[in-house]
Amino acid sequence: MVQSPAGAIDPDVDDEELASGMAALLEEMAQAGVLLDAAGLRPVDEAVRVNLARGEQTVVNGPFAESKEFVGGYCLLQARAMDEAVHWATRFLALHRGDWAMSMEIRQLDAPS
């Protein structure tokens, strides 16, 4: 999962170098036989939050005042081991030059093994 601080990504900025680098990396992951699925998410400002607090639910439309980290997209990989997943995450982040600040959180699917 790609996580960025809110406002860090401006969806209207076209970064062709980033886009082509991303496409090349995804193709490399597919050719390596590890990429199962990938998707980006619409900006968090367009999100709707449904909160639960002690049985009380509220529905809140974005944009949200507080700036927390949010998930911007995900890649579903089938890697041999965690260090391989870390490798691909490193490659992904390395595509973002300049002032980008983001993190990738690698989580395993909870499946019976």
Partner: protein, 440 residues
């Protein structure tokens, strides 16, 4: 690329370098083999580049494009070695090495031929001149990037056995002067067959291990699946590549249901279908549709893997064993048996027919097959025959078949499964419980 933070744990830095090296190694060797024309030499050069990486990357960080870095470094190091070592230079000259044409930075640009290099390596490692066991070992090593120790552990043999197998195979490739190319035209079809067989063999050994105390060997299942996915990406126009990918995705979707902590083997009919992996099923169906679209476009009949995938797909859409379209399955097996006759297919067809038309009809087919004597030593023949005999009420004969089957498999889990069946068969009267099914 953010340079490695000095605060980063050194061991973590090494883990990153190890992972990068392991992932890049097969591509590096594949590309270098094209340059120097010899796999062994390419491995030596790759090793030089990896040594450099292990020295520099923990300090400077893994470069954004590690593959290109390794390739440039390998070429530089090779040139250094050539300047120092005349004997080696002579060897390169003999091999017609391309290296002396100078290292240019153009290899830093995206290399469209990198996929071609991997294909060259796949076709070379799976060349029909090599024995099947050698093809498997070479493919896992040079295409999958597994170490000799990993392959040995997976196949439960000493590392020296695998090492020797790989050395011999590489020698055969050199002495037979197997060209390092992706075959074209009519040659492609039968060479591709060999590649697909090797991938299928790796997967199948994991899916129903022929030896050892586990029925499922997930490492081999995943390697086989990974190789099939690689092939589907590198040879997108070949219908049977998608057929194989479809078959393996669909088979793999059931892995979580085939074995539970309490029951080491759960046969298809008894599996908890909610535990089937829907993502893999979707991928399987997509690949099957691709295979179908391509064969239609090319005006070809469905290939053997696509047909088997279609069979697996029938199971995937059935909400229970009872709701399976057994007549359609029996028909698919009949088509498979006609186009690609094999005793195993006949046996599976008999299982389908038994489910569609009753055990007696299935048994008749098994008896025909047993009559040929071709598969007398195959444990599944006796297991299926025993099952069908049991179901038509010929219990003594069934018991003898189960005993026979148990004596023929080296897999401990399958032996246990058969012994359980023998015990059940003995304990239950003629009008007893419905018996197990084997529909895999």
């Amino acid at each position: 690329m953010p340079r490695a933070d000095p605060a980063v744990d050194v061991r973590e830095g090494h883990a990153a370098v190890d992972a990068a090296c392991r992932l890049e190694w097969p591509r590096l060797v594949a590309a270098l083999t094209r340059l120097v024309g010899d796999i062994g030499l390419a491995e030596d050069l790759a090793q030089d580049a990896l040594v450099a990486a292990v020295q520099e990357w923990p300090r400077d960080g893994v470069p954004p494009r590690p593959g290109a870095w390794l390739m440039v470094t390998a070429r530089h190091r090779a040139l250094d070695r050539l300047r120092r070592d005349r004997a080696l230079a002579a060897k390169y000259a003999l091999l017609g090495a391309d290296l002396l044409r100078g290292v240019t930075e153009d290899v830093l640009e995206p290399d469209p031929s990198i996929g071609d290099d991997r294909l060259r390596m796949i076709f070379t490692a799976c060349h029909p001149v090599l024995a099947p066991a050698a093809r498997v070992a070479l493919t896992l090593r040079l295409v999958g990037g597994l170490t000799v120790e990993e392959i040995a552990r997976t196949y439960l043999v000493p590392p020296s056995t695998i090492a020797q197998r790989i050395v011999r195979a590489k020698r055969t490739i050199a002495t037979e002067r197997i060209p390092y190319v992706v075959p074209e035209g009519p040659e492609l079809a039968y060479r591709l067959d060999s590649v697909l067989d090797v991938v299928c063999l790796i997967f199948t050994e994991g899916y129903a291990a022929s030896a050892g105390d586990r029925w499922l060997r997930l490492d081999l299942v995943e390697e086989g699946l990974r190789l099939a996915r690689v092939l589907a990406r590198l040879l997108p126009d070949q219908p049977e590549v998608h057929g194989l990918a479809a078959l393996l995705e669909l088979q793999a979707s059931r892995v979580g249901a085939r074995s539970t902590p309490d029951t080491p083997v759960v046969l298809l009919g008894d599996q908890d279908r909610s535990a089937w992996d829907q993502l893999l099923i979707r991928r399987g169906f997509l690949a099957l549709h691709r295979a179908h679209a391509l064969t239609t476009e090319l005006g070809r009949p469905a290939g053997r893997f696509a047909l088997q995938a279609a069979i697996a797909a029938e199971h995937a859409v059935a909400r229970s064993a009872e709701h399976t379209n057994w007549p359609r399955l029996a028909t698919l097996y009949a088509i498979l048996a006609e186009r690609y006759p094999s005793p195993i297919v006949q046996l599976n067809r008999a299982v389908g027919v038994a489910m569609a038309d009753g055990p007696a009809a299935g048994l008749a087919l098994v008896e025909d097959l047993a009559g040929t004597g071709d598969v007398d030593g195959y444990y599944l023949l006796h297991a299926v025959r025993g099952d069908l005999l049991d179901r038509v009420g010929r219990r003594d004969e069934a018991l003898a078949e189960f005993e026979r089957a148990a004596g023929l498999t080296a897999n401990l889990t399958e032996q246990q499964l058969l012994r359980d069946r023998i015990a059940r068969c003995r304990a239950v009267g003629a009008d007893g419980l419905p018996s197990g099914r084997d529909g895999r």
